[in-house]
């Protein structure tokens, strides 16, 4: 088990190194000189040069990279080029917003995806099963932005059950927090629910037709116990989709953050790209990769627990 975790961690660190290094050099190549964007086009060459010196981009790129790297390994991602405040402060401010929405959306996806997937897997071809297929096509066709707006119109402005925009920290009010994150989480989760349900249903049917299940039935096991065995063998596929969903939702949060005016990491990424704010972009990259690595590690551990054969890979 230890070597299993060590291997996964090592590959995670390698991934982190490759992605951040790539991002550093690509960002610098793509953005080039950020000073016109940061100062406006009326800045004189002297003013631009002064800012370049202040933010340290007048040094060779490799020197800059080494400087960034040596600080980053200690958890210091430098200073935002726009606000001159620590990048960590920006991340600490934005991360809870996005995580609240994404985690809640993941929970919704898991609960409803599993229930619907099992229901359809148990009765393939039923009205409910066909309805799932139809809904999944419709949901994939609908733009997330539009879906968000419809949810706001109906449940926030029409019924007044939830907040239309903005985020309330749970430190201020837990009920307010739930009111503020429910609609964006639902908007984010709808597609994921259908995907997980579809995946679980297909996996369930596939396992259900295998010889060992027929044998279990022939031995006279109750339906409930057979389903439990089938589920245990179907779970890895659904879990993999769920983990991928979480990472996907993290990236896809920008749409709901726009519609619901949530100042999360999605909008921060967009703003930083527009401003050419490389330190913030790099901080966001590191954070996202760490999340991906951790989620994948957790997934591997759960899959290993569900299916011991995985640990030997």
């Amino acid at each position: 088990m230890f070597s299993f975790i060590a291997k996964r961690l090592l590959s995670g660190i390698l991934l982190l190194a490759v992605v951040t290094t790539g991002t550093f050099f690509i960002a610098h190549a793509a953005i080039g000189d950020p000073t016109p964007g940061l100062l406006g086009n009326s800045a004189t060459p002297a003013q631009q040069a002064a800012l370049r010196a202040k933010i340290g981009i007048d040094r060779p790129l490799l020197t800059q990279f080494w400087d960034w790297l040596t600080h980053a390994v200690t958890g210091d991602f430098g200073t935002s080029w726009r606000t001159f405040t620590p990048v960590n402060d920006d991340l600490a401010l934005r991360l809870p917003v996005t995580l609240s929405v994404v985690v809640f959306a993941t929970v919704l996806s898991a609960v409803f995806g599993v229930i619907i997937g099992i229901a359809c897997g148990l009765r393939p071809g039923s009205v409910f099963d066909r309805l799932l297929k139809f809904v999944s096509v419709v949901l994939f066709a609908l733009p997330g932005y539009w879906l968000g707006i419809v949810l706001v119109q109906v449940f926030a402005l029409g019924l007044g059950w939830f907040d239309a925009t903005g985020y309330v920290s749970p430190n201020i009010s837990v009920s307010g927090w739930l009111r503020s994150i429910t609609l964006p989480s639902v908007a984010l989760a709808l597609g994921a629910i259908v995907m997980i349900a579809e995946q679980l249903r297909n996996s369930f049917l596939e396992v259900n037709n295998q010889d060992f299940v027929r044998t279990l039935r022939a031995r006279g096991l109750s339906k409930r116990r057979v389903v439990r065995h089938v589920l245990r063998n179907s779970a890895p596929a659904a879990l993999t989709v769920l983990a991928m969903m979480f990472v996907g939702l993290l990236g896809g949060a920008i749409i709901v953050e726009l519609v619901f005016n949530l100042q999360g990491i999605g909008l921060l990424t967009q703003q930083s790209s527009q401003n050419g704010n490389i330190p913030v972009l790099l901080g966001l990259t590191v954070m996202t990769v760490v999340f991906v690595v951790v989620i994948n590690l957790l997934l591997d551990l759960v899959l290993g627990w569900v299916n011991p054969k995985v640990r030997d890979r």
């Binding site: 016109p36 964007g37 100062l39 406006g40 086009n41 009326s42 800045a43 004189t44 003013q47 606000t83 001159f84 405040t85 920006d90 401010l93 932005y145 707006i149 419809v150 706001v152 119109q153 926030a156 402005l157 029409g158 007044g160 907040d163 239309a164 925009t165 903005g166 726009l258 519609v259 619901f260 005016n261 100042q263 909008l267 921060l268 703003q271």
Partner: protein, 517 residues
């Protein structure tokens, strides 16, 4: 002298956002519990909650923008000079001022008894420190291009020495180029991290989140307290038009930078609606002398293009009707604008083709024009019109930041350019001074224009100068100096109980223009 050019770019973003934003669907105008959405429930509103569109650029007045920074900075800083509803300079921290006979020296008397939030005293030395800081400023410096020196005459008098007469200096100072900050904070280079001013509100940092929301509470003893009716102010940068409108409908905002597409819903909700010209939309001729494309140097060709475009149609189709179809760029609600001139280029494709033929371009000509996603709303109209005229346009696609950098290198380009509320500022911004959107003013190449400009710049400010500006405006329209299609309005929705007075030149008005009503 020029205003910060970012304002012009912001105008593009705003116009595009307004033009491209989807209409939100129906929604109730009432928040749960029966109080009127937008916060107006009949009771006096004590908290202003404004959706501003863009985040504050910087808390340092020297690095701040005019466009959308006004409300943020006006909460925490006092200006030397403010503007009234007609965009005329009025006293603030400078209680009065006087020009020398040659208009090259400006003396300002300063208010006494004002202190900054860090305890520093506002006096002539502080004003000089600030003015030097603003003159050296990356963005603010443009307002002080003609200022050679600033000095303190005594404890409450400062003097600005100019190298050249500048009739728009006070306007720019009032527009957002004379915010006074603590000299100690300036010296410590601390303003980028947070404001240190003497303004009417105290910034509540622990309730604020950068780029998300900014909270302010009113001071008890501000010298101009009566001008600021709201006890608390929340400013929220919300760029997404749908999110902003939803927030307004749900009562999370009671004032917003609005999208004209939502006008029927705003009327239905009973909100106050205010609008004012903010930017001109059309074709900018960067090559009026024909150095790149010979045809554009011929006035008949530029006039042909002006005749060809259906400005009113484009205003309706792309601009949601929020503006005024006109071929002029002095504001339609100003003194220089001449309504009778709007008939000069009534859409007439036959006349346009005839003019092209007279100029020797019956078969049209070829031209390259830049294009970026933000301008795509206007591209079909431009394509069709140029095509009908026989002008073959090769569009060169680029990202928006590159558009600003590269568009001026093309002979002509589609433009959305911020306007000024001051007639002399319009002259310098749009005609005489090189800007990113006007790289080759070329005034010297047109003797009639040059002599009129000289007359205007020497004239006594007031009626005489305005008359000369009208003549110049007529001349520029005759020469098809630009092909202006329309002047786009900025629009603001506010709950009953809040009234906004928009100001041309400010994308979002400063707090003194937001009152009860």
């Amino acid at each position: 002298m020029t205003r910060t050019r970012t304002t012009a770019l912001v105008a593009v973003a705003v116009a595009a956002a307004t033009a491209l934003a989807a209409c939100t669907s129906a929604g109730g105008g009432n928040t749960p519990g029966g109080s009127t959405a937008g916060g107006g429930g009949g009771a006096e509103i004590t908290e202003l909650k404004a959706g501003v569109f863009l985040d504050v650029t910087s808390w340092d007045p020297a690095s701040a923008d005019i466009g959308f920074d006004g409300p943020y900075l006006s909460a925490v800083y006092d200006p030397l000079v403010a503007l009234d509803n007609e965009a005329k300079p009025i006293p603030a921290l400078a209680t009065k001022w006087e020009w020398s006979a040659d208009r090259l020296t400006l003396s300002m008397d300063l208010r006494t008894g004002v202190t900054f939030d860090d305890g520093q005293k506002f006096d002539a030395a502080a004003a000089v420190e600030n003015l030097k800081h603003l003159k050296a400023g990356v963005r603010s410096g443009q307002a002080y291009l003609n200022v050679a020196d600033v000095s303190a005459k005594d404890d409450d008098t400062v003097e600005l020495k100019l190298t050249k007469r500048d009739d728009s200096l006070l306007y720019f100072m009032g527009l957002g180029r004379s915010w006074m900050a603590s000299p100690a904070a300036i010296k410590a280079d601390a303003l980028a991290k947070g404001p240190v001013g003497s303004g009417p509100y105290k910034f509540v940092a622990d309730k604020s989140a950068p780029q998300s929301q900014y909270v302010f509470t009113k001071k008890d003893n501000h010298w101009d307290s009566a001008t600021y009716p709201f006890k608390d102010v929340q400013l929220l940068p919300i760029m997404d038009q749908a999110a902003s409108f939803n927030a307004m409908q749900s009562g999370q905002l009671n004032l917003q930078f609005a999208n004209a597409a939502n006008l029927p819903k705003a009327k239905e909700a009973g909100w106050n609606i205010a609008s004012k010209p903010s930017s001109w939309v059309g074709v900018q001729f960067a090559d009026r002398t024909g150095s790149q494309v010979k045809a554009l140097g011929d006035v008949k060709v530029r006039q042909a293009i002006a005749y060809a475009f259906d400005s009113a149609g484009i205003l309706q189709a792309v601009g949601n009707g929020a503006g005024t179809a006109t071929n002029q760029l002095w504001p339609v609600d100003g003194q220089v604008y001449d309504k009778s001139m709007d008939g000069k280029y009534q859409t007439n494709m036959d006349k346009a083709k005839q003019l092209l033929a007279e100029a020797g371009y019956a078969g049209g000509f070829s031209v390259k024009m830049p294009m970026s996603p933000i301008f795509q709303a206007w591209q079909p109209a431009a394509n069709q019109t140029f095509g009908d005229l026989g002008i073959k346009v090769e569009w060169v696609d680029m990202a928006m930041p590159d558009y600003q950098k590269n568009a001026p290198t093309y002979p002509m380009f589609l433009a959305v350019i911020a306007m000024s509320g001051n007639d002399m500022a319009t002259l310098s911004d749009q005609v005489t001074t090189a800007q990113w959107y006007n790289p080759n003013p070329s005034v010297d190449k047109f003797p009639e224009v040059k002599s009129l400009v000289d007359e205007v710049e020497k004239a006594e400010p007031g009626a005489a100068q305005t008359e000369l500006l009208k003549k110049l405006n007529t001349k520029l329209v005759d020469l098809a100096w630009w092909d202006v299609w329309y002047q786009a309005d900025n629009m603001y929705f506010s709950a009953k109980g809040i009234k906004v007075q928009p100001v041309t030149g400010m994308m979002f008005p400063t707090l003194r223009f937001i009152q009860r009503g």
